[in-house]
């Protein structure tokens, strides 16, 4: 019986002594931290993609809590997540301007000419450092897949030597835009359905020599839907700042002779099924 009491007394004594020491240390080495930051991190999707411009989700959470950024700046969060964060912190959700990336080139293996055979690292940056890459067009997609490998959401597929971004998977984080050495990938409003898939500003005869689906600047699209397109020299682009944006009907009305004006859906279907569709269309 004695030994039991002594044992318990010893344990209690040691425990108490240690507890006091820990208590003193906790006072001396106190660290102030905001519990709201952890709350926001919990509510965020946690992809750590860097699309907001900060280094990671915890940095973004700190910025939101300190009021430097709006919760809607996270491109991956759904509108429900954004409003949940806004509610938890008692602030405004902010304007959400959703963007998505698109590769503005239609030059896959069948449609473009390669001037030389390239033997080296299969990476777009490396290839563009060797005489500007093996492709005839120095403004087009090189097709070596550097963007596809870098995409944190697996939204880019390489089909036929051309990068295609799947709209539904893209969140607009901008990683692919930074990687591409040709600046072929652009961030456009998420609602944009119609694009001119050509990035080359060269003169039309030079372009046609190396690519079957280059935009020749014939202005048929601008005539069919004025104000919706911008023409610079021999290249047409969709005016993404204009509302309303071009629709599938505008594509049909324009009857683009080279097949560089397409809806995103058409572009995907062409690459997946029929590489030589332009001959069929004519």
């Amino acid at each position: 019986m004695n030994i039991l009491i002594i044992a318990v007394a010893v344990m209690a004594g040691v425990g108490l002594a240690l507890g006091i020491i820990i208590g003193i240390f906790a006072r001396l080495f106190r660290v102030e931290s905001d519990p709201r930051v952890d709350l926001v991190v919990e509510l965020l999707p946690g992809a750590n993609c860097g699309g907001c411009g900060m280094a990671g989700c915890s940095d973004f959470a700190k910025a939101v809590v300190s009021g430097k950024m709006a919760p809607s700046k996270c491109p991956v969060s759904s509108s429900d997540q954004v409003s949940a964060i806004a509610q938890a912190l008692g602030i405004e959700a902010g304007e959400a301007f959703k963007q998505k990336a698109v590769v503005l080139c239609g030059g896959d293996r069948e449609q473009t000419m390669r001037l030389a055979s390239y033997n080296g690292i299969i990476d777009c940056v490396s290839a563009s450092l060797v005489a500007g890459g093996p492709k005839g067009c120095t403004y087009g997609c090189l097709g070596m897949g550097s963007c596809a490998r870098k995409c944190p959401f697996g939204a880019i597929e390489m089909i036929n030597g051309l990068a295609i971004i799947h709209k539904e998977l893209c969140v607009g984080c901008g990683t692919c835009v930074a990687v591409c050495p040709r600046n072929v990938i652009k961030l456009v409003p998420a609602e944009a359905e119609v694009h001119v898939y050509c990035n080359s500003p060269l003169k039309a005869p030079a372009k046609r020599l190396v690519c079957k689906v280059a935009c020749i600047g014939c202005r048929k699209c601008a005539k069919a839907a004025p104000d919706k397109f911008l023409i610079e020299g021999f290249k047409a682009t969709v005016d993404y700042s204009h509302t309303p944006l071009p629709t599938a009907e505008d594509v049909v009305a324009a009857a683009c002779p080279t097949g560089s004006l397409l809806t995103a859906e058409e572009h995907l279907q062409i690459e997946k099924h029929d590489p030589d569709w332009s001959a069929e269309k004519k």
């Binding site: 001037l115 030389a116 055979s117 033997n119 080296g120 690292i121 990476d123 940056v125 490396s126 450092l129 060797v130 005489a131 500007g132 890459g133 093996p134 120095t138 050495p181 060269l202 030079a206």
Partner: protein, 443 residues
């Protein structure tokens, strides 16, 4: 510092390419090609801001007339290589594969020069006047980067330059342009060196020449004493002609990491540039033509040609008799550091030292295999880097580790890739890493 060229000075590392191909064109004296009907002079081939064209389509120009004016300090003037009519500004394929603007001149067949600039007596002229003349003549570094010579010869005074080294090493296989220049016009080279030394205010002037060019060394030695220049014999090794290696071999000084030759108190100049300096000062002639080696096993008559700026490469090959079979590769420069081309639409620029056509049998595409850590690349690297480690970290896309291991000091000389038994594309890895790191630092 000895002037006896029996001493073989050298640096650590480096390789000895098996066949140096120089025998194809070594013995051919420099020839002047016939006049062409069109010349397309690339505007922006030198480092720095491109010069601004000062002629309009339809203008009549004479040979040596100014056609583009330098913009700012780091920029070089451009002059017409022949007399004729300016057609306009066209796009030609650049040496780096991207289309570049060029001024197209239709020749009138007369090749009439305009009034040359008044000759200067370099012994009495001031350094400032000499420098201004070099700037007016549009002289740029003809050994590679085409850096405006006027800028190179104006280093900041705190660098305390005390040595001028002339690069006559020509370590690249197949190229013999500098060799023939030293052999045929040694006085021009030496005079250019003396003029440059006067501008810099240095007393130590060396010309580094590889010891296998015995005739060139002899030709230079005949007159070197007149100009107080030492001719230094260098061991035949690649890349002996690289600035940093040349400084190490001749003065035993080391250029610090990320530094330039002026940080080692030296200025390095190509012999071709020196000859151009001499022409500009003593004859008043701007830089409009250069000696280029047109060579390769598939070229009928490989040799050295005095080509005007804007000569299409395909015409240069025709001067040399054309090809005996379909070439595998077209390289501007040497086989180690030259640029492979994907079209014959390129033209001769101020720094085109060679036009090399390799046969299909020499243009084999290798499949790389894993690194076996044999260490040949480490032994061969002239900068003391670890190419095997850099290759694997860059392949894993760890550019931070690559920067830690000094990838920015890589010369891209190709020694590592040349000796690698696994045929790994090491130089391409380095170039990719350097491009990514530069992009990161710009952000």
């Amino acid at each position: 510092m000895k002037s006896n060229s029996k001493d073989y000075l050298s640096f650590d590392g480096g390789i000895h390419p098996a066949s140096d191909g120089k025998s194809l064109s070594e013995g051919s004296p420099v020839q002047r090609p016939p006049l062409l009907d069109r010349y397309r002079v690339v505007i922006s081939e030198s480092v720095g801001k491109p010069p601004k064209p000062v002629v309009q389509p339809g203008d009549l120009v004479k040979k040596y007339q100014l056609i583009a004016q330098a913009e700012g300090f780091v920029s070089a003037n451009l002059h017409s290589p022949t007399s004729g009519k300016v057609v306009g500004i066209v796009e030609v394929a650049g040496a780096m594969g991207i289309p570049v603007p060029a001024i197209e001149i239709e020749s009138d067949g007369k090749d009439e020069p305009c009034e040359p600039m008044p000759p200067l007596d370099w012994k009495t002229a001031s350094a400032a006047d000499l420098l201004a003349r070099i700037g007016e003549a549009g002289v740029v570094g003809m050994g590679g980067a085409a850096f405006p010579t006027r800028v190179k010869l104006s280093p900041p005074p705190e660098k305390q330059i005390d040595t001028l080294i002339l690069n006559g090493a020509e370590c690249e296989p197949y190229l013999t342009a500098d060799h023939r220049l030293m052999l045929e016009k040694p006085r021009a080279v030496l005079e250019g060196a003396a003029i440059s030394a006067k501008i810099l205010g240095v007393k130590n002037i060396y010309i580094g020449v590889e010891v296998n060019k015995t005739d060139a060394i002899e030709a230079l030695n005949k007159h070197a004493a007149d100009y107080n220049i030492y001719v230094v014999g260098l061991k035949v090794q690649y890349p002996q002609g690289s600035e940093k290696q040349l400084i190490d071999a001749v003065t035993k000084r080391e250029v610090p990491t990320g530094g330039l030759p002026m940080d080692a108190h030296c200025v390095v100049q190509n012999v071709g540039t020196a000859a151009a300096v001499s022409d500009a000062v003593t004859l008043g002639i701007p830089l409009v033509e250069r000696i280029t080696t047109v060579t390769g096993d598939v070229v009928k008559n490989p040799g050295n040609w005095l080509l005007k700026l804007g000569t299409p490469v395909i015409k240069a090959v025709e001067f040399a008799g054309g090809v005996t079979e379909e070439p595998g590769k077209l390289i501007l420069g040497g086989p180690m550091m030259g640029f492979a081309q994907k079209t014959f639409d390129v033209t001769v620029c101020k720094n085109t030292s060679g036009i090399l056509l390799l046969p299909q049998s020499d243009s084999i595409a290798y499949d790389p295999s894993p690194c076996i850590r044999c260490g040949r690349c480490v032994a061969g690297c002239p900068m003391g880097l670890l190419p095997c480690l850099l290759g694997s970290v860059i392949e894993a896309e760890r550019f931070d580790l690559a920067a830690e291991n000094h990838v920015m000091d890589c010369l891209e000389c190709g020694s590592c890739a040349y000796v690698c038994p696994a045929h790994r594309p090491l130089v391409q890895h380095m170039r990719r890493a350097k491009a990514e790191i530069r992009k990161q630092s710009k952000k």
